[in-house]
Symmetry: C2
């Protein structure tokens, strides 16, 4: 009498993970250097030295009972204060400790935010292309995720489709900028227009509509790109942050939720997040990791390799005839496939040991995702393989 | 339009946490050394040196991208294998990697186990006295927690009451041995009788009834006490373990679930736990902590202080006339209060700056919990204060 719902979920595993697993197996057969694995968003540059040094210092110098003791359930006070201060410094905001909740990454942050602002049956809108794991995060809360079709010319927001889908059951919109999988950064114009529409609809429907802003790529923005801090443009913003990409710590499960204090229920929301964690038995991220990242709030890993890789791929693939909206950040790119069937295209690439994720699970047809968080020399060696793939469509 | 359910939960905070917070405030007024805070189960002895050394070694010697990379969602393979091997060595079991799921502590483990083996409306039975946080862990799954009244003469299981409460909606029984708050360890006789009844009822009802065995105190067992490994006595056992108490790491959020491979659905259950984690966005415990604890599977902190403290308190309080079932493990004791109203009793103690948790939230009236994970010298200095309290009832 096991719960059939979770058994069914076992059958719906991530396409990305499966391609990555295939790549790992294939590497054992033909050598790691011969598989051009663009499947997974796993950072390829080391964590900053400050993080490692601070971890070692904590282990060597702290009293262990204190260091490894229970963290308060909303996070360690000094860490919450440091996060608030860094956001205020960097984005001219007014966060306080009470507005910050420490959580084990953006995934947990989004799931918590969705639980707090919906009841089962409510709707959350997101914009294609979108990270496919949003589906389980939202559906497990009982809310309904609806996907606004993409504007494939720019991968900014398709506002006409959005306005049509807004209705009084919509309690939140979930955005991701810089975006996985497109690499696009929403412009100030896009964010301001989104904010304006939401304010009008809040008025019309008589309830708040939150922006749940998923920002793990906030620090990976390329030269000259306009990358507004979303909460500065809309009061009812719940910012979901992860240190996975900026500090190259995806395995250490650390992030935070910051609720704009201008949002009416900021402190209550943070308290609710604590209760949500309590119920699922995940009471706080690890103490030592909280303390160590709090010393790295003004720095990142050396993220420049991602821009180098983007430039090579964008230039070379465009030359080959691929249509690409140029990424403004992240380590993703989302070109148009050379045939309508993205899966068939991805399978052809796979025969060349070039692993590209077909676009369907991101809510868009006929595209593919390249995760270029791999060494630049490998990116360079992959260019002739992309050429071979393109030649198959001549 | 926030979710009222979580707002309501904010108002039902833990009595234990509130007493602990009072104690911290009071310590600022009259000095830490003058508050006899027996409220919280926070280990008082340091983590073993092996843990600290291994953490530092990993940080100094590992390639950081590898070290801090995503862990597979069921846990790091080598860690799962090491956990299985250590259980086999220590308890003569036959676990394999596929039977082990790494999770962020026993709380998450219990919540996952309950989700996997119930659907909303199903029942889970537990035995008083019990850890009060079981209520949110179970109720948030949609299952119903029912509490079997205590056998207050021994704090073993009240089998008459148990058999009466067993019905076909019961999918699991949640046990905790060594027990928080009583400190009692279920004997082999108790476990075997429980197993026998459950097997009969499985037959009768035509479905499995799982034991969810909450074992964070497994390593804290006093001299000469019979402490059977539950899964060795009942196939359908889901063992929920935390390293919080044995390695003094409560803040680092690390534990595991081990499903007895003799249980029909062992590998499926582990896969389901992965999906449950995925849905709530808590994809795995931190990589570095997983790796470090995997080197400490055959050791513990120096736990002897807890037995020393138990001996002092048991001897001295018994002399004063307190009725106590002598603990067999943990760092808890659950004496009978000197008046029927445990809260009134605890309040009288509080006036003497002696912080004792009243028994009501543990599902038993007229008792109180002592958490003696504090320095022995403080235990000794507290004895005259207990005497003063006892004298108030002469």
């Amino acid at each position: 009498m096991l719960n059939q719902h979770y058994i069914d979920m076992c059958g719906q595993k991530s396409v990305i993970r499966e391609l990555f697993t295939y790549g790992s197996e294939r590497a054992k057969e033909i050598g790691y250097e011969n598989v051009f694995d663009y499947s997974l968003g796993n950072p390829s540059v080391p964590a900053p030295a400050t993080f490692t040094k601070e971890m070692i210092r904590l282990l060597q110098e702290s009293e262990p009972v204190q260091l490894h003791g229970y963290s308060p359930s909303l996070g360690i006070d000094s860490v919450r204060e440091a996060v608030a201060a860094s956001l205020n410094d960097r984005f001219d905001m007014h966060y306080e400790k009470k507005d910050v909740f420490m959580v084990s990454g953006a995934a947990g942050a989004i799931a918590h935010a969705a639980r707090a602002v919906t009841v089962p049956g409510d709707e959350i809108l997101t914009f294609a292309p979108f990270f496919p794991e949003y589906r389980p995060y939202i559906s497990e809360t009982g809310a309904v995720l609806k996907v606004v079709p993409a504007d494939i010319s720019s991968f900014q927001i398709n506002f006409d489709a959005f306005v049509e889908m807004l209705n009084e059951k919509v309690m939140a919109v979930l955005i991701n900028t810089p975006n996985n999988p497109s690499g696009i950064v929403y412009s100030t114009e896009t964010i301001d227009k989104l904010a304006m529409i939401l304010k009008e609809k809040e008025e019309e429907f008589g309830h708040p509509i939150y922006i749940i802003s998923d920002e793990p790529y906030r620090e990976i923005v390329f030269e000259g790109v306009d990358a507004p801090f979303v909460a500065a443009h809309y009061n009812n913003t719940i910012t979901c942050y992860s240190f996975s990409k900026s500090l190259s710590l995806p395995g250490e499960r650390i992030g935070y939720i910051a609720v704009n204090p201008a949002c009416e229920d900021s402190a209550l929301l943070v308290d609710m997040f604590g209760q949500i964690s309590r119920g699922i038995g995940h009471n706080c991220p690890p103490s030592i990791i909280q303390l160590a990242v709090s010393k790295c709030l003004y720095e990142t890993s050396d993220l420049s390799v991602y821009e180098t890789n983007k430039n090579i791929l964008y230039t070379e693939l465009t030359k080959m005839g691929f249509e690409i909206v140029e990424p403004g950040g992240t380590f993703y790119m989302f070109p148009k496939a050379l045939e309508d069937d993205a899966v068939a295209f991805s399978n052809k690439a796979k025969e060349l040991d070039l692993l590209l994720v077909p676009s369907n699970s991101f809510g868009v047809n006929g595209h593919f995702r390249i995760s270029y968080c791999i060494p630049t020399e490998k990116v360079e060696r992959s260019i002739p393989v992309f050429q071979k793939l393109a030649d198959m469509y001549l």
